[in-house]
Symmetry: C2
Subunit: 361 residues, 2 copies
């Protein structure tokens, strides 16, 4: 039996006990010529982590350490690595591999490569080793998916940008968010708060749309020029056919989600882009709902390396701070954090920190 390097991390052993985190050793893929080894300092807690360990997105490989908003120091690089070096602080996001050879990969669309691999829960075809995420001591990944973090951004603030940040940044820049555009962000959670921060930083007239007014003051602090609460009667009336772009982070399309009311906000050929991935969701849409303005709906998946670097530069240049609550990593704290996330008791993202105390310096 081959002997692999081992890391240690907080794994979940089964979806039935997904709030029980066990500090365990796991095998790591052989170190490749383009690989980078990162000692982790911080990791954001993403709703994807919960969907995955709870089985909400279907079968997964267990035991599994999740976490794909990773910041740490490079401690080793493969002989062919040019994009990272020892001592560099880097981020690792939700994707950790693609072929880099296909049309999509060569076109800054590596997040749409049919052969892409996730940072956790994916299987390396040659060894069968399952990729493990950032609730761990280290992560080993291909250099292309490590991003230098500008000095101006603290690790706890940078971490959630690696997934929540890029997930909202990419559809904004790909769909023309900028000066002269009117842009709405639907839902003000971990994703949505970045949506507001980026849209404003990119120069658009930025509106937040939420169910109630409870987050209105926060949204304005983040830079929102306006705020709409869908519980208000006739909430969309004054804004029909005025938005160029809506990025929706909504995590539920069930009862009370009135798609037609959102689409009516869009200007001719305006776009509604979903970045939320509800577990059980089917959008019900009538072609008639698109007809009055010829609008479009779509989805977006993460963002390219180029966009990741641009986003980090924007955050550093404009001194954009994520709204994070830092939590020292431990089995107990992970359980508590997941519970609070499930209750939406977070404004607006958790980052696990103090890795040295748990995994050694």
């Amino acid at each position: 039996m081959p002997k692999y390097d081992k890391y240690v991390g907080f794994q979940v052993n089964s979806p039935d006990t997904y709030k029980s985190f066990h500090k365990q050793e796991f095998d790591v893929k052989p170190f490749g010529d383009n690989d980078v080894e990162v000692k982790i300092e911080a990791c954001g807690v993403c709703s994807s982590d919960v969907h995955t360990i709870s089985g909400g997105w279907g079968d997964q490989k267990f035991p599994l350490a999740v976490g794909h908003e990773i910041v740490g120091r490079v401690i080793r690089v493969g002989p062919k690595v040019t994009l990272a070096k020892e001592g560099m602080r880097v981020g690792v996001g939700a994707q950790s591999w693609s072929c880099l050879e296909c049309r999509q990969c060569k076109n800054d669309n590596e997040t749409y490569c049919p052969r892409q691999m996730d940072t956790y829960g994916a299987v390396w075809p040659d060894t069968g080793i399952v990729t493990q995420g950032g609730y761990s001591s280290h992560v080993r990944t291909h250099e292309y998916w490590t991003y230098p973090i500008p000095d101006a951004i603290p690790s706890a603030s940078a971490a959630p940008m690696l997934c929540a940040g890029i997930t909202t940044y990419s559809p904004l820049v790909r769909n023309g968010c900028g000066p002269g555009k009117k842009v709405a962000i639907v839902g003000l959670g971990g994703l949505g708060h970045f949506g507001v921060l980026w849209a404003k930083a990119l120069g658009a007239e930025t509106w937040a749309i939420s169910r109630s007014h409870s987050k209105e003051a926060d949204a304005k602090k983040m830079g929102a020029d306006g705020f709409l609460a869908t519980q208000d009667k006739g909430w969309n009336e004054a804004h029909k056919m005025t938005f160029d772009l809506i990025v929706s982070t909504a995590n539920s399309f069930g009862e009370g989600f009135d798609m037609a009311a959102y689409l009516a906000l869009l200007d001719v050929h305006g776009k509604w882009i979903s970045v939320g991935l509800p577990e059980e969701a089917t959008l019900q849409i009538k072609p008639q709902d698109f007809m009055a303005n010829g609008c479009l709906i779509g989805a977006s998946h993460l963002g390219s390396r180029r966009e990741m670097l641009d986003m980090l530069k924007l955050a550093a240049d404009k001194k954009i701070d994520s709204w994070v609550e830092s939590v020292p990593i431990s089995a107990e704290n992970l359980a508590k954090t997941i519970e609070r996330l499930e209750k939406n008791d977070v404004r607006y993202r958790f980052t696990m920190v103090d890795y040295d105390k748990e995994f050694g310096a």
Copy 2:
């Protein structure tokens, strides 16, 4: 009571008797300074006509003469008219008025003007007179919605271009159809056959997608480079992530309509544009279906005056002939034609002709 001019046309008196056409007089709006009076020569028969008179699209104003693919001669113009003159052969499509003052109207988006009016079934606010369509002796309309028909295009061939033609032409040109693009047209009926003709004429690699192979030979004659039949097992496998644009003329999203299979055909950020308007249709879409390629779905409504003129020029320059079956207009023939349309017994459009015989020279 005011006295209005009168035309005569084949009206339906109620949705309960929608295949009974009655030759009746009806009131016409007062002749405006920008109005054009057209003696009708030919009118295409559109599925919209059936949806309207049968009540499938909801309540309508009866009695009503439908028909919105009209070609005829200008016999009178208002004092301010500059776009038409007496003796000119012009077309009139499905839209006959918009404000021409709003942002949409000034932006070649008059088909998305919130105050637009349809060629038939709309109510003039000042008089209460209901607009009547082209199963009639004449039509009176604002000059902006009359389009000179190039000499090269016979009236029976030009007529269906005014609705079915522009409905497919606009989403093609607005979404980049041209050389180097791979474009699919879903459904090969009246709309779809124009989709294939235009996509090919615009220089795209053109594919037709139909349920069976029964129309494959026709599609190839229209210029399709390829043909896919959705009844074939794994019909989309060889073409996943290769199409830039799909224009769907599908008239049903029920049983057997596999939206995910269509969306999988699209390249990254490719678009699926619906121009069909089923009576009872709700698209069921999971955000996950958009995720692998970040594709978009939308709809399109008719096309602008500018696009109408471009389309007619393209048809004249490239000698594009509509595939029409000409039928002399009469109450009996209209009933038969509607029945055949309901059975899809048409390849690919009916045009009612011989107006002189029915309405006088």
